[in-house]
């Protein structure tokens, strides 16, 4: 079936079988390999993308359902001028080690910070609980989300 959707602001379409997940569509048909396959059942969160402003496990969502919706993937965060503040903070604070959880983790962080740039540590932990990381103990990730939130709020405050 033909699936048309908006990915990172671009209108994209692909002819895929109905059983294709959004993750498979992104990775195998649209060449967007940022979202990863880690467990394929919604446990690890490394496939996290944002659909119409809400984070979802793209391994659990059919591509067909995403048709007509607005998808943001990790590839859509940086712009021509700069890294997204979350990417900037994650890199600077060494929040990613092997990096495999990174794209999903950053999308979950974005989902949180887009709604609240000054979350408490407890809120950050809650927001990231769907993204498993085996390398970092989540410590530097949480620090990076705090720092990114500060950067985002001051960005938002600009005239």
């Amino acid at each position: 079936m033909l699936v048309q959707l908006k990915v990172n602001g671009e209108l994209r379409s692909a002819d895929v079988p109905a059983e294709t997940t959004l993750l498979k569509l992104l990775r195998e048909h649209l060449g967007l390999t940022g979202a990863k396959l880690g467990c394929d059942v919604g446990d690890c969160g490394t496939c996290t993308v944002i659909v119409d402003g809400e984070s979802v496990n793209s391994c659990l969502m059919l591509a067909a359902r995403a048709a007509g919706h607005d998808i943001t993937t990790i590839e859509g965060l940086a712009n021509a001028n700069q890294l997204h503040p979350i990417q900037h903070a994650f890199e600077e604070l060494g929040a990613l080690q092997c990096g495999f959880c990174g794209p999903g983790m950053i999308m979950s962080a974005k989902h949180l910070l887009d709604k609240n740039t000054e979350p408490t540590v407890a809120e950050i932990r809650d927001a990231l609980a769907g993204n498993l990381c085996r390398c970092t103990g989540y410590t530097k990730i949480i620090e990076a989300v705090v720092v990114a939130g500060r950067a985002m709020s001051s960005t938002d405050a600009r005239p």
Binding site: G94, C135, K140
Partner: protein, 330 residues
């Protein structure tokens, strides 16, 4: 009722493999603009090998981390390496990188010495320059020396070396010998809360103080420690592959319970000031030992909180409550 307790555990851990093959080789090439390329057969598995090896090469050559590019992980181009295993990369591959970079630097010194009118052994590499020891104003840029060596003297500034830690085989009867070149040490202290009506253990915080010799990159060492502790927390409280008739019954991340962000305590990480003369710039290693004392510290904290000595891991809530009820009964 919620009961609070604290527990400590210390440990020691060796760097690299026992007597078995443990070598690493490295090649360091200085480019004609003074930057450098390192070839290593190890693999970046998230531990930060590319960064640390780059910093070690940069230090030896007197340049900045950003001046060094590290090429890894291709048997067609990179030299032998025992691999990203056994907390050996910083120490073993790092020593190989130092030796290789020193050879490349030696070529630069040979080229620079006549330009500066001194002997090569009167030179040092610092701040992207080859300068005369004690006379930093007298120098040539590394780029100049590299170009001169390569283009005029016909000698590319490339060094290659292998390092294999010196060990003494263990006696098969008594185990006596020198199985490892060096060891690291650490202490972790855990503070927990135990719900004495459910047996649930909440780890509130862990203080971790580790020795890794010189931290080549303190941020990466902290990352190793924090990640190791998370594995230790899982090992202590939740993680267990269960078998029935030889078949795993929980081979998925729904039922194999590893820590999420909500399950990790607050971590306070410090490094011991230490220096190992046998390591690259005094460094030893950091990967594995970070996961070693966590479970023991948590078990001692549970004992301190409710008097239950856990003798088999993991300390599930059911096991802890069982211990509490046994104590109450006796």
């Amino acid at each position: 009722m919620i009961k609070r307790g604290r527990g400590m555990a210390c440990m020691w851990y060796p760097i690299g493999f026992t007597v078995a093959a443990n070598p690493s080789a490295a090649t360091v090439k200085v480019n004609t603009d003074g930057t450098a390329t390192v070839l290593t057969g190890t693999v970046e598995t998230g531990q930060g090998a590319l960064t640390v090896l780059g910093q070690i090469a940069a230090e030896t050559l007197g340049v900045a981390t950003d001046d060094v590019h590290v090429v890894s992980g291709d048997t067609d181009t990179t030299p032998m390496d025992t691999g990203a295993i056994a907390s050996r990369t910083t120490y073993v591959t790092g020593n190989a990188v130092v030796l290789a970079a020193e050879k490349a630097r030696e070529i630069l010194f040979e080229a620079a010495a006549p330009l500066l009118g001194v002997r090569p052994d009167q030179l040092e590499a610092r701040d992207r320059k080859i300068q005369v020891l004690g006379f930093p104003a007298k120098y040539v840029d590394i780029a100049t020396a590299a170009k001169h060596s390569e283009n005029v003297l016909g000698c590319p500034s490339i060094g290659s070396a292998t390092y294999n830690p010196p060990t003494v085989a263990m006696d098969p009867e008594t185990g006596q010998g020198k199985p490892f070149s060096t060891y690291v040490y650490a202490t972790q202290i855990a503070e927990v809360e135990v719900d004495d009506e459910t047996g649930q253990v909440e780890v509130l915080r862990i203080v971790a103080v580790h020795d890794c010799g010189t931290p080549i990159n303190p941020m990466l060492v902290e990352g190793q420690i924090e990640g190791g502790i998370s594995m230790g927390v899982g090992f202590a409280l939740h993680e267990e592959i269960l078998f029935k008739d030889g078949a795993q019954i929980n081979p998925n991340l729904t039922n194999y319970i590893m820590p999420t962000s909500l399950d990790m305590p607050e971590l306070e990480v410090e490094l011991v000031d230490n220096y190992d003369p046998t390591g690259p710039f005094g460094a030893k290693g950091a990967g594995e030992p970070t996961a070693v004392p966590t479970a023991a510290a948590i078990m001692n904290a549970i004992f301190d909180a409710v008097g239950v000595r856990i003798t088999s891991l993991p300390a599930t809530a059911e096991k802890v409550l069982g211990g509490i009820m046994e104590l109450q009964a006796s």
